[in-house]
Subunit: 444 residues, 2 copies
Amino acid sequence: MKYDIIIIGGGPAGVIAAITAKKSYPEKKVLVIKSVGGGVIPCGIPYMLTTLLKPEDNALGNAPLEKNKIDFKVDEVIEINKERKEIKTKNNELFKYEKLVLATGSNPIMPPIEGIEKKGIYNIQKEMNHLKNLKKDSGEAKNIVIVGGGFIGVEFADELSKLKDAKISIVELMPEVLANSFDPEFSELAKQKLVDEGVELITGEKVLKFNGNERVESISLSNNKQIPAELVILGIGASPNSDLAKRTGLEIGKGRGIVVDEYLRTSDSDIFAIGDCAEKKDFFTRKRINIMLASTATAEARIAGANLFKINVLRENKGTIATYSTQVGDLVLGSAGMTENTAIKEGFEIIVGNAECTDKHPGGMPGTNKLKVKLIFSKQSHILLGGQVAGGNSAGEIINIIGLSLQKRILLTELETLQMATHPKLTPAPTMYPLVTAAQDALR
Amino acid sequence: MKYDIIIIGGGPAGVIAAITAKKSYPEKKVLVIKSVGGGVIPCGIPYMLTTLLKPEDNALGNAPLEKNKIDFKVDEVIEINKERKEIKTKNNELFKYEKLVLATGSNPIMPPIEGIEKKGIYNIQKEMNHLKNLKKDSGEAKNIVIVGGGFIGVEFADELSKLKDAKISIVELMPEVLANSFDPEFSELAKQKLVDEGVELITGEKVLKFNGNERVESISLSNNKQIPAELVILGIGASPNSDLAKRTGLEIGKGRGIVVDEYLRTSDSDIFAIGDCAEKKDFFTRKRINIMLASTATAEARIAGANLFKINVLRENKGTIATYSTQVGDLVLGSAGMTENTAIKEGFEIIVGNAECTDKHPGGMPGTNKLKVKLIFSKQSHILLGGQVAGGNSAGEIINIIGLSLQKRILLTELETLQMATHPKLTPAPTMYPLVTAAQDALR
């Protein structure tokens, strides 16, 4: 059977690529082949445990595909013949394609720690039944240990802290949580919230061994302590799922990502790769970075989907801005671009500005939170290099103002003279708007 | 007595100009002369009635001036001698200046309607005692009529609707509320919320007469009806307070605003004018517009304050982006730049994109609101001309992403490929981020 466009992978990248392709080329036939029937929305995974009424509320359904008249099937592609432009599946079906999009995602990293195969140790797979089992086990465990203090680890800890009967711990190798995306003064705020929620933080330590018989019972740490654990959640990152691409003979980068050009084309120009399986370059340094975000994946999917047959959505030579947000209790944290630590490590000469204010005004407005912003600028050029924000819910979109500023290479003086909408119930006072005052602070 | 810098006016513009001046030129002596002792934060005025615990929570205090070692006094400047660089006050004091900044604000418009002088009819003055009287009277009135359905009128109505014993009505000349800043489909959302709150909307009608003896008792409308009113609030706009500047011989524009150059210098280069008293030009058309916003005023204050003695904060030839946000009940509305209606009226050839989604994801996350975005682009150049947003609290910062996009003249294709931070508890899904999907919609 022949399709004009075949997309391998049914996560956010695959779905958005399919929809964009169908909208850009309505006459083309599009097929999505997904390996998992019960897919889930990746960023919603932690919230399947307690916040959402039921795990199914986080299902990644097929409605968007059906609505856009895109064919799909659950199967696994085991072979790509790029000369014949043909793929073969596990169910032994053959499909011919004009354009192929690889959106095969990533696999959670499983470190070679003794005992990691024991029952009760979960990595994070984007699959409904796996996560239902995790939810069930988390309801029964008295001691839950999360390995890794990045976004996933911190969000799981925050979510699980609502379980009254379980003790939650995080074991993190670095001295701080969220250390890849935040400078220490922001990580410290997250840490404080987690401690307030009763989470134990064990930082600067390594897991040496998982103990127990069939099921995990405890963990041996590098500080010679042993902590009880009937449930372990591994949140230590993921690795691009590029095996199929490699077998096909496509170029693979050192970090195992599929090498792509500006328009997400692989070394075979009829094959595109998008999302976690494709290699990413940093916005400022053009170095290879290991950033795996649904928002990056969907941005790439839109570019690839529109450009399959002709380049019409121009992608500037931008690279990936690492931009995240997260919430711990009522504290929202966001980061975009470089932290102060990263910028210094990469050799940038910088100036830094800080601002603190309230996120509503006057401060007596109900529901007011503290808001803290840090901006990092290039010293000589005054171009914004990165920003971090901590506050209430509005910080989730404030980080997107900073993200856009990075993508538009905004200058300090432009932020100083920024015009913004302010409102007592919604934003800081115009006299205190923190992107403006942090820019001013950087100059002094 | 001589000061290096004298600022006339103690509102947000005056205060921020003083602070910026002091930080930019620490060796200079700065004096602020304010005509009102008990100043208030302008945008917080509606919320002094019920939301804030007490009106004093909205006071505009002197702490920022004191902290920055800026002298201030309550007095009125009655004369400027620009040849001798000298001012005279009502209390008969003389001060010499090097640089003078006019931040004299605006006066509420009092239309020549019969009976407008009656007791119980309030305009909005930025003065504590006036507003305390308004609060007291609003607690006693059974029928409160707000004249004018712009931001101030709508916010007062929303706020007063919490009073259980009063009937609240808005009388508006135009067919819609908020018609200057929103297209009808957004105005309609505000209208619906107000109706849900029990506010009566009388649109397309004019006030002909205020009836009563000493105090107002009722209002005669152009539809020949008479409605009871023991309290009337006038929210029909304001006019630049440029009398002093006019008497001084400075150039005044047709809309009564003081004419200023790119750096807020008046026709006398040692005298600056900022905020409501200074003339504003539209960002896209360079036409004179009557926009009076604290956020615009403070942006101007920062430019003027830094540039008093030498130009070092560059202001690009931008003009004023009309950018606002407001809240009616739990509905947040924001607007930046041109509406579809304005763009068409001004002769722009446009394309329009719409998007609807939820402001958290998946939709089952607690506290999820609907989010609606409309973007207006130039058809040929694909430059963003304006945007409107309706949603929950996060819409208050989403409109600032749109505002920044306007100021950076963002293109449709840049929004299509935008990288943003998304999070289940904070933002729409990456697959549905409405600035991206509205941009895509505009193309189709």
